[in-house]
């Protein structure tokens, strides 16, 4: 029984991380139809900032990490993606790919490509006992942070004026502009928010793994991206849900698959993506009232 609860908590915490990452990807896709592969590099950049600022007080480290992610996100939007607004999806896809690789390879020039250890928030490694079950404090923090960010973002999008404008722009960009919604502001905000999400995820991952390495964002983004597709590229709730489910699935598959098949669990996840694309391309949780997206 204990094991089951621990596995579930583990699944929910991993699901939370992937939900946040998927949301970051979904936000940008919503307003620009761009699948931002470079999101992984935001996670990486924050990680290396934490490394660089190590030893300073925690708020400084966190703010530094946040600033890096947000500024980098805004920079990539301004320099690489703004000139491409309105380009066809294939061009956007390739350029996103290129930006991601450029950032990755450029960073490697300045740092080692070997993984670096970092003892970040070691207190969270403690075990806590809740109702007789031993859980890691970090997992609970991950769940809490994910929930707070998801709720906060939902509140922002659903109740504020600007959030409404962003949702309108995500659905029909040109029509929103025709009603006065400012394109640049909406897109910049989407990128800034995705930077915020990437920074949060990065801090949590660094605390969890204790390692910073150039590829740390890649795995996260690939899986989260899969979740976005499964959940539905057109809707933010779908993206977050899809990311969450895929995160949960990877943990549950780990626990439930026979040992021989366990190593193939990523293949199963990607097979699920293909099936979704074939039979339900709008995703499992498309936005209400919407027809096909892709």
């Amino acid at each position: 029984m204990d094991r089951i609860i621990q596995t579930l908590v583990d699944a929910v915490s991993v699901g939370g991380l992937y939900a946040l990452t998927a949301l970051g990807i979904g936000l940008i896709f919503g307003v620009m139809r761009l699948i931002n592969f470079a999101h992984g590099e935001l996670v990486m950049a924050t990680g290396y900032t934490l490394l660089a600022l190590f030893g300073m007080p925690l708020p400084v480290m966190l703010m530094g990490g946040l600033a890096t992610a947000v500024l980098l996100a805004l920079a990539t939007e301004r320099v690489a993606f703004r000139p491409l607004r309105g380009a066809d999806p294939a061009t956007l896809l390739i350029s996103s790919f290129a930006v991601s690789f450029f950032l990755q390879k450029t960073l490697i020039l300045f740092v080692d490509s070997r993984p670096k250890g970092i003892d970040f928030l070691p207190l969270l490694g403690r075990q806590i006992e809740i109702a007789g079950v031993r859980l890691q404090a970090l997992q609970l923090v991950v769940i809490a942070v994910s929930a707070i960010l998801l709720v906060g973002l939902t509140w922002f999008l659903r109740t504020t004026r600007f959030g409404l404008q962003m949702r309108a722009a995500a659905e029909d960009f040109r029509m929103a502009r025709m009603l006065g919604v400012r394109a640049n502001r909406v897109i910049a905000t989407a990128f800034a928010l995705s930077g915020l999400l990437a920074a949060a995820v990065s801090c949590l991952v660094v605390a969890q793994t204790g390692i910073v390495q150039p590829r740390m964002g890649l795995q996260l983004v690939i899986i989260a991206f899969v979740g976005t597709v499964i959940g539905g590229l057109g809707s933010l709730a779908g993206a977050a849900t899809g990311g969450f489910l895929v995160g949960v699935a990877t943990i549950l598959l780990q626990a439930l698959l026979p040992p021989d098949l366990r190593v193939f669990r990523e293949a199963f996840v990607f097979l699920a993506v293909v099936l979704v694309l074939l039979f339900r391309p709008q995703g499992l949780f498309p936005a209400r009232g919407l027809k096909e997206r892709i």
Binding site: D172, R174, A176, M178, L179, G180, G289, L290
Partner: protein
Amino acid sequence: MNGAAPLLGVSGLSIRYGAIEAVRGVSLEVGANEVVAIVGPNGAGKTSLLSAIAGVVLPAAGRIEFDGQPLAGLALEDVVAAGIALVPEGRHIFATLTVEENLLVGATIRDDAAAVRADIDRFFATFPILGQRRSQPAGQLSGGEQQQLAIARALLSRPRLLMLDEPSLGLAPAVIDQVYVLIREIREGGVAILLVEQNAERAFSVADRVHVMSGGVFALSGTPAELHRDPRFDAAYFGIGMA
């Protein structure tokens, strides 16, 4: 036409898509209280004309002036602040947003929240069915209801000129009646209207002046009464024998 300066003045407008000239040297005016209609078959250039005024496409040549100010090169987002609202062909309502949220987006450029609320309440009072559905996703509305919503949304920016592109497209006759009732009311409210329609009869029923557009130019112009009597109308509409 009265002697006062027109609200909207377009002269010598040309619009090109690559090698194709969709609009060739068109001039028109809309006065502050007028309804001007542009009728013509598909592909005549009507939508391109509206798109240029709304800032969606850049004209190859010509001038557009609104309220004495040139409009050329204005960004899309700024045109509505200038006082022009476009309801594009196909309605383009935000299907995943609620009916009420759609209207709120229409009021993006306004900062008088109380007046916006009053406008919205008034709209729901006039259209109680839509009022009932105010919290439903707009994608669940019928075609006619969506058209009414799209028009109301455009009006929420309190424009001085409302441009409508094919408001009757794809709608049943009874529904079109309702839409045109709305158009007449808007006209009573003092908003100028530039209307593009394939359905000439409907346009005639509400317009002060009509231009017949064919092949990128205005083949014929006049009041509905004049055009009704004009034997050249059919030919002009279908571009037969015209340059």
